[in-house]
Amino acid sequence: MSSVATLVAQNVTPGRGAYNFGFLDETTKREVRRALLKAVALPGHQIPFGSREMPVARGWGTGGIQVTLSILGPDDTVKVIDQGADEGVNAWNIRRLVTDTSGVPTTTDSREATIIQTRHRIPETPLRDGQVLVFQVPMPEPLRMVEPSERKTRAMHAQADYSRAWVYLYEDVVRRGEISHATGYPVMVAGRYLLSPSPIPRWDVPKLNMADGLYLFGAGREKRVYAIPPHTEVVPIDFEDYPFYVESFPDRKCQKCGAEAVYMNEVVLDDGRHAFTCSDSGYCDSRLTGGVE
């Protein structure tokens, strides 16, 4: 029997309908997992992988979906968020794809999930040991803004030649009087590789440093995965006199749960007034139902 046929025969945990467990075939999952192992071994280094056609268009989280489905097992519990919200269209569709093809339970409480797939946010509750956060990454290359050539950016990574990323920040300071880079703030991982943390707000960047959980990044269109393993030093790049800082929400409270010092969404109410709510809807909900400070 060929190895593929062996794998198919050994597939004792069928998904629903005609699909393999977790939609992807086993060899694809193994290839993605191999790339992920490499990514974990080289924190922050981008690893190419054979990104597959998925039943959503590229640019809608196909990289994250492939990572999630490749590491998914029958005992996992999955949470999917889009800009912090479990109710986003993108989150709904991805969650449905995962459950329809694997049957694993889903949750909106980040504490209960073993795998959290996210678009552009990190949950407010810190990851614990054993949890995996999977990012959907549109643009994995942090140097693309200063260097259009892939060949050259690879050489720059190989030689840790990142001075031009700082030039970009310098230009920002000159033009706007501050570092205005708002999302996907470039960070140095383990003192070696410059990494784009996907378009998360600055608010979430410090959560990458010395975390208890594992961060995996998947870029489907760009065919790259990378990782920040637990307890890895992650430092945003900045200047001594223009240090990195996070967004602040002075005197803002969540209209729903009353939380302060969380990342907020500004919403316009029916009467035209502005209000703020938690961006992390799962966190907000669990505060309302009790159990979270």
Binding site: Q159, R164, V167, Y170, E171, V173, V174, D241, Y242
Partner: protein, 279 residues
């Protein structure tokens, strides 16, 4: 060991193409060509050797295509030479050939030890980031991480090169050619290189701007005692800047000596032609 020179070049040569047994016979000033008639390879320069002493300026003069710029590009590690070696007193105390440097060492050499001002300012500058940002790139390369420090240094350098201070935050694409050239000089000077390589610095500039740029280079010579290699096809520039001069033709050095000597008493027919055409 303390070397008396800051830069020693030994047998430098660059061939484009695969080469053949007849290349050396088919090229050079005697053959009157730099491309081999047999295999089509181009020998841009061959067997170039010289020592550059501290504070000294060496001129390289020659017609277009004589290999002057190739020598500079090889020394600045833009090109991989086919033959030869070069030593900098600041690199492993002059004991290691710079062409064997690792990529990070090369970056260090290019950022801090040497500076090359290109003939075309667009090659040495990023025209779409500010003049200050261009200088910042150099400083960031040697791990300066303070905006205030960068702006101090950039301001000083632009003042030295007579670029108006209020243009520091403009992009060089909006500057005149002469001003771009002066910004490039400021960038090249950013980390106080021990060797400055100037490639046709004044070519294409109008005469009054030329004079300004040349004055500036002379000032740098006198005040900072930087060793320089000045490449030009303009004997006037060479006479003004260089104490010693090498004349190149078809990829080879045909004559060298003190600049006055070479210009007053040229031996090689090509040099004689060059000097004669000046007056």
């Amino acid at each position: 060991m303390n070397s008396p020179w800051v830069l020693r070049v030994d047998g430098l040569g660059k061939r484009y193409g695969r080469g053949c047994g007849l290349c050396s016979k088919n090229t050079g000033p005697l053959a009157g060509a730099n491309s081999c008639a047999n295999c089509g390879s181009i020998l841009a320069c061959t067997n170039v050797s010289f020592d550059l002493l501290p504070g000294e300026t060496l001129g390289i003069v020659g017609e277009s295509g004589s290999g002057k710029s190739t020598v500079l590009r090889c020394l600045f590690l833009d090109e991989e030479p086919t033959w030869g070696s070069a030593y900098l007193s600041g690199f492993h105390r002059g004991e290691r050939d710079i062409f064997t440097a690792s990529p990070p060492e090369r970056r260090e050499l290019r950022a801090a030890t040497m500076g090359l001002a290109y003939q075309n300012p667009g090659a040495g500058l990023n025209l779409h980031i500010t003049a200050g940002g261009n200088i910042a790139e150099r400083l960031l390369n040697v791990r300066v991480r303070s905006v205030a420090e960068i702006r101090d240094r950039a301001g000083y350098l632009l003042r030295r090169t007579e670029v108006p201070h209020d243009r520091m935050d403009d992009i060089p694409a909006h500057f005149s050619g002469g001003m771009q050239q002066r910004v490039q000089l400021a960038k090249v000077m950013a980390n106080n290189p021990s060797v400055l390589l100037l490639d046709e610095l004044t070519t294409g500039l109008d005469v009054s701007v030329q004079a300004g740029v040349l004055d500036l280079v002379r000032e740098l010579q006198e005040q900072l005692h930087i060793a320089m290699v000045v490449v030009s096809h303009d004997l006037g520039v060479i006479r003004l800047l260089a104490g010693r001069t090498m004349v190149m033709k078809d990829g080879q050095v045909v004559e060298s000596g003190l600049t006055d000597q070479v210009l007053e008493d040229p031996h090689h027919p090509y040099t004689q032609l060059l000097v004669a055409s000046m007056t």
